[in-house]
């Protein structure tokens, strides 16, 4: 008798989320575990979004600053470079310059950058604040309004500031990232609170909080895996939004992507090390269930894309 491998099927499905207007991208929509195409449907590939900033990336290590050295002084040029030269399918504009400890740029400054970038590129835009609770609550509603109708992703709404940010994203027709701090129950709770405001759960993206390989990634992995199982096996409607992994930000600040070859020759090439670290972190979190990846280095993006190609071949 021929061996028939057992197949697992689930009653739940992840919501597909489509972003952008002129050029659109969709992620999510699967009814099976990551890359388990032999068990269910995965209608969309994970989407990789290139991260850019409103201010020059002075705190990025040289390895990841270098590919953007000619364009990163201007977010418009930077965004165009990602779209035209790197073939980015999506761009993430992080408004880090609005952080009070950074340049403390105003909401008006942020609106100008967002508008300029939106006018310069066609691919879908993800707009992130500086991860400062009060400042994000002030800046994100303004940029949401300024980008009304462009079907962007706004983020990140957290427990302490979700009300204003979610209300603005809702009024301007955007998608919304809801971030909680590595706790599956709090992640569910935040999604409930946001949907109780009238925000459709099908427009949410869950961020369970990322971490880099070697820096607690197993916690992120476990929370993501359990969220995905809740979505599929328990068909939990508030756990069915797709998940984002904000990879670049966490990877390019750790020792392994910064320590020089002089100091640690046994760690090998700094450039290769950083790129592999970002690619491996992203790949690991895709395996845990992330459908949207925010990344920095073009070579790391290429590696991850090759992996996705092979998995979808």
């Amino acid at each position: 008798m021929a061996f028939t491998p057992p197949k697992e099927s689930f009653r739940g499905r992840v919501y597909p989320v489509t972003i952008g207007t002129e050029v659109q991208e969709t992620f999510g929509g699967e009814n099976t575990l990551p890359f388990h195409r032999f068990e269910g449907e995965i209608p969309h590939r994970p989407l990789i979004s290139y991260e850019i900033q409103d201010v020059p990336p002075q705190d990025w290590p040289e390895v990841v600053r270098e590919p953007y050295s000619d364009v990163s002084d201007d977010p418009v040029k930077w965004a165009q470079f990602c779209q035209e030269s790197l073939g980015a399918k999506s761009i993430t504009l992080r408004l880090i310059g609005t952080h009070p400890d950074q340049k403390n740029l105003s909401a008006e400054d942020a609106v100008k950058v967002v508008t300029d970038v939106l006018n310069a590129v066609k691919v879908p835009l993800i707009i992130l604040g500086s991860n400062h609770i009060e400042k994000d609550a002030e800046v994100l509603p303004k940029v949401a309004e300024a980008s009304k109708g462009r079907n962007c992703v706004i983020g990140k709404a957290q427990e302490a500031n979700y009300k204003t940010i979610a209300a603005a994203a809702m009024a301007s027709g955007h998608k919304l990232i809801a971030m909680s701090e590595l706790d599956i129950n709090l992640s569910k709770q935040l999604n409930i609170l946001i949907t109780q405001m009238g925000f459709e759960k099908e427009r949410l993206i869950t961020d369970p909080m990322c971490s880099a390989l070697g820096y607690g990634i197993e916690y992120t992995y476990s929370v993501m895996e359990r969220i995905r199982l809740a979505a599929l096996a328990q068909a939990d409607p508030v756990m069915q939004p797709p998940m984002v992994a904000d990879v670049g930000m966490y990877v390019w600040k750790i020792k392994e992507t910064q320590a020089s070859e002089q100091d640690l020759p046994e760690w090998g090439s700094l450039r290769e090390r950083g790129i592999l670290w970002e690619a491996l972190t992203a790949t690991t979190l895709m395996l845990a269930g992330a459908e949207l990846l925010i990344m920095r280095h073009p070579d790391a993006v290429s590696l991850v894309n090759t992996f996705i190609d092979e998995m979808f071949a």
Partner: protein, 285 residues
């Protein structure tokens, strides 16, 4: 079912202040209310009580027993305080209980007291190294404690095994494992071992209006598994027992007339069994 009233705990501000001032009135009032609601024993939790624990425990035991004709559950890690309490305890109201021993060598001496004073003792199935992973882990620890109790001369019928209820808000999967542990504990001896839980820890960290709901229905599920005793709020247990016939129907998948109550019960059962993820607003979904 033995209900051990949980309300006289040093964690509660009003109780703590009364303990510090040796003010009998609030202590006796709280003991009386618990007695009226069906408590069969009163827990006296004085904390670690490193300074003056002996005198405080004696004061608590006599203060409680002046007000209600019940035995006292002596709840502290302080060996001398427990012994002092046992010396003044009025056994005409029933045998006292020690709360608690465990598989941590520092807690073994409590067994010595349980043997010497022929009283009941709660045995937490935890060791020195972290929390038990599941019901099997708990059973293994229970077996070790049982062997040790016999060594110390404590009859097994005086031992109440406590699987250690954990917070559902942070360790949801443990809720069901504790229920299973109660079933497993019963099989460790013939006659079956007695079991006890610190009930309200299940809802620790949950919103105020959710806590009694989780406590009540979790209690009823533990009761169905064979639970013998609970350190709990007797008022909540009273309500739970009134709701038991309806709850058992819902647990069996039957319909009940009060649809709103049925929904609350169903959602809570699903959270306890791990069929849905816990969130503070789980009842609103």
């Amino acid at each position: 079912m033995l209900i051990i009233g949980e309300k006289l705990s040093i964690i509660a501000k009003r109780v703590r202040e009364a303990m510090m001032k040796r003010d009998k009135a609030p202590i006796q009032e709280i003991a009386r209310i618990q007695y009226e609601n069906g408590a069969g024993m009163i827990d006296a939790n004085i904390g670690p009580a490193e300074d003056g624990g002996e005198e405080l425990m004696q004061w608590m035991v006599t203060t409680i027993q002046e007000a209600v004709p019940l035995p006292v559950c002596l709840d502290t890690t302080n060996y001398n305080a427990v012994e002092a309490g046992l010396k003044v305890h009025n056994n005409d109201y029933g045998r006292p209980m020690i709360n608690s021993t465990s598989n941590d060598p520092e807690r073994f001496p409590m067994l010595e007291l349980a043997a010497k004073y022929n009283c009941d003792i709660i045995a937490l199935t935890v060791g020195k190294g972290g929390l038990p992973a599941d019901e099997h882990d708990r059973a293994a620890i229970a077996a070790e404690i049982m062997a040790r109790a016999m060594e110390y001369g404590v009859p097994l019928e005086n031992v109440y095994l406590d699987p250690l209820v954990l917070q559902i808000a942070t360790t949801q999967d443990q809720a069901l494992k504790v229920i299973k542990a109660i079933e497993v504990f019963k099989q460790l001896n013939d006659p079956p071992m007695k079991t006890v839980v610190g009930l309200s820890n299940v809802s620790n960290g949950c919103p105020k209006h959710v806590r009694p709901i989780l406590n009540k229905y979790y209690f009823l599920m533990l009761l169905n598994a064979g639970l013998d005793a609970a350190i709990a709020d007797p008022a909540e247990i009273k309500e739970a027992m009134e709701e038991k016939p309806l709850f058992d129907k819902v647990l069996n998948g039957e319909e009940i007339e009060d649809k709103e109550k049925m929904t609350v019960m169903k959602k809570t059962i699903d959270v306890i069994l791990g069929n849905t993820l816990y969130a503070h607003s789980y009842l609103e979904m």
